[in-house]
């Protein structure tokens, strides 16, 4: 059920907040073989739901999320509730305050069911967590849900919650959205506060929603977007209306379809679904423009250098990997090998590519690409081959998504079809900075016509 559907049930008296939350908890306790939760907050959630019921009965309605069950990736600070980041390093960490976004969603009436499993330290794409269990993909239990926000994607796909918060440093919202067949938005850098969020790479980290539908993401953005004096990177750009009517048609929209990079080494059934979605957008009145994008391999290398350096700087005191999974430890070791001049040059390149992308936005409104070149890999699959091109599953997952983190543009992933094996395929729509609301509006229109 979507946020709106739950809201209708509550306001029509079909169910109370307590009943909605009880039912969500029952489903999780009976069916969570996907290992989506690290901490389930059943008692707290039921107490919160009872308060929301009393409010509704006395005429207080906090808005679309009033009484709606949600959940948070386990790196959002929650006052008095353990926040692990999926790591033994934080196994006993109990924050003394809430993250800004946790606070805002609670103020909007949402009821948190708990903290979601993830890739350790948000540094990976599989969510095969060695400490809290491998998260499984509800679409196929033998496959990964993607990561690092794997528990968020899986919890939404399993129908436990209509919306869950995630973070995205190199695709960590969009990859699980693609693999699990749900919607996910990496907002513009600075659009959502990161206060009280355990960082991975401070100049690349973004907070955003994963939702059953694009509208669920839009409703979440209306709650969490905005400036925050406690986050120096948060933007003062005025917050738009995220929840206006989705356009009936897409007349006048200029869709950029890349002729280089984005459709190279992409599985045939994935590119077919994405082209089919682009064709659906054309039928709704949009025009397509073939575009050549800047050198994304260089952008990806610059991203890896910035991410590697910033992440390793956080864990510089960890001199051995005894408490950290091997894959994450390797990445931290690699980050320590990057030189100062390389980091500075990678940061300088960002400004060059920023200008190149600004020029691109003169000729198109959105870029349409696959989110991931493949569907969800099998749990044991460390390497994938696409049209004769071999790479690690991690590099495949991040290949088409990580550059956008370096540039800060908003990027939305939404389901656009199925592979030959019946697995979900993700369409990525990238827009110019601070076009988040327009991107979500387009996504809602596309979603309606593809479903």
């Amino acid at each position: 059920m979507t946020v709106r559907e739950i809201g209708k049930m509550l306001r029509s008296g079909q169910a109370s907040c307590v009943e909605i939350v009880q039912e969500a908890l029952r489903r999780i306790q009976e069916r969570d073989r996907y290992r989506t939760f690290i901490t389930l907050m059943a008692r707290e959630a039921l107490e919160e739901a009872a308060k929301r019921d009393k409010e509704l009965a006395s005429g207080i309605d906090r808005g679309p999320f009033h009484g709606v069950p949600i959940a948070h990736k386990d790196l959002f600070y929650t006052k008095g509730v353990r926040t692990t980041a999926g790591s033994l390093l934080f196994k006993d960490f109990i924050p003394e305050y809430d993250a800004m976004v946790v606070d805002k969603l609670r103020a909007g009436g949402a009821v948190s069911l708990g903290k979601l499993n993830q890739h350790e330290l948000a540094y990976g794409t599989t969510s095969k967590n060695p400490h809290f269990g491998f998260v499984l993909n509800p679409r196929d239990l033998e496959r990964v849900p993607g990561g690092s926000s794997g528990g968020s994607g899986a919890a939404v796909a399993a129908g436990f919650v209509p919306m869950a918060l995630g973070t995205d440093t190199g695709g960590s919202i969009r990859i699980p959205a693609s693999y699990c067949g749900v919607a996910g938005l990496k907002p513009t850098y600075g659009r959502v506060s990161r206060y009280g969020v355990l960082p991975l790479a401070f100049s690349l980290d973004h907070v955003g929603p994963l939702g059953e539908t694009v509208e669920d993401c839009a409703l979440a953005m209306a709650e969490i977007a905005g400036p925050d004096s406690r986050d120096p990177t948060s933007s003062q750009v005025p917050v738009p209306n995220f929840c206006g009517e989705a356009p009936a048609r897409l007349d006048g929209l200029r869709i950029g379809v890349p002729t280089n990079f984005y459709f190279d080494h992409v599985a045939g059934d994935v590119s077919a679904s994405v082209y089919n979605a682009i064709e659906a957008m054309r039928r709704l009145g949009a025009g397509t423009v073939e575009v050549r994008v800047p050198d994304m391999l260089e952008l990806n290398a610059a991203h890896q250098i910035v991410q590697g350096t910033e992440a390793s700087s956080l864990y510089v005191s960890q001199r051995n990997g005894s408490q950290i999974g091997l894959d994450v430890w390797r990445l931290l070791e690699q980050g320590r090998l990057i030189s100062g001049p390389d980091y500075v040059n990678a940061q300088r390149l960002r400004t060059v590519y920023r200008r190149q992308f600004d020029a691109l936005w003169q000729s198109v409104d959105v870029l349409a690409t696959p989110t991931t070149p493949i569907v969800a890999p099998r749990l044991e699959q460390d390497e994938v081959e696409t049209n004769g091109y071999r790479e690690s599953s991690r590099m495949a997952a991040t290949r088409l998504v990580r550059a956008v983190n370096l540039l800060g543009e908003p990027a939305l992933s939404l389901p656009c079809g199925r592979s030959v094996d019946g697995l979900p395929v993700g369409l990525q729509l990238v827009g110019k900075p601070f076009s988040d609301a327009r991107l979500l509006g387009i996504g809602r229109t596309v979603e309606r016509h593809l479903l």
């Binding site: 050198d295 391999l297 260089e298 290398a301 610059a302 890896q304 250098i305 590697g308 390797r330 070791e333 690699q334 090998l337 990057i338 030189s339 390389d342 500075v344 040059n345 990678a346 940061q347 300088r348 390149l349 400004t351 060059v352 200008r355």
Partner: protein, 53 residues
């Protein structure tokens, strides 16, 4: 002989650094001379110290 963990990590980082070095070499004329960062951006202290002079 199997590659050591350290050799493996260095090979991965070297590949990234090579791609970056090529980009820097090719784009050198367009690259800003420094990061867009001022240590006194937004600081009122900067104004005060100017007054002191």
């Amino acid at each position: 002989m199997p590659e050591s963990e350290d050799e493996r990590n260095r090979a991965i980082v070297d590949a990234m650094r090579l791609t970056l070095a090529e980009a820097v070499g090719r784009l050198a004329p367009d690259i800003e001379p420094a990061l867009h960062y001022s240590p006194v951006a937004g600081s009122e202290l900067a104004e005060e110290s100017e007054d002191d002079q």
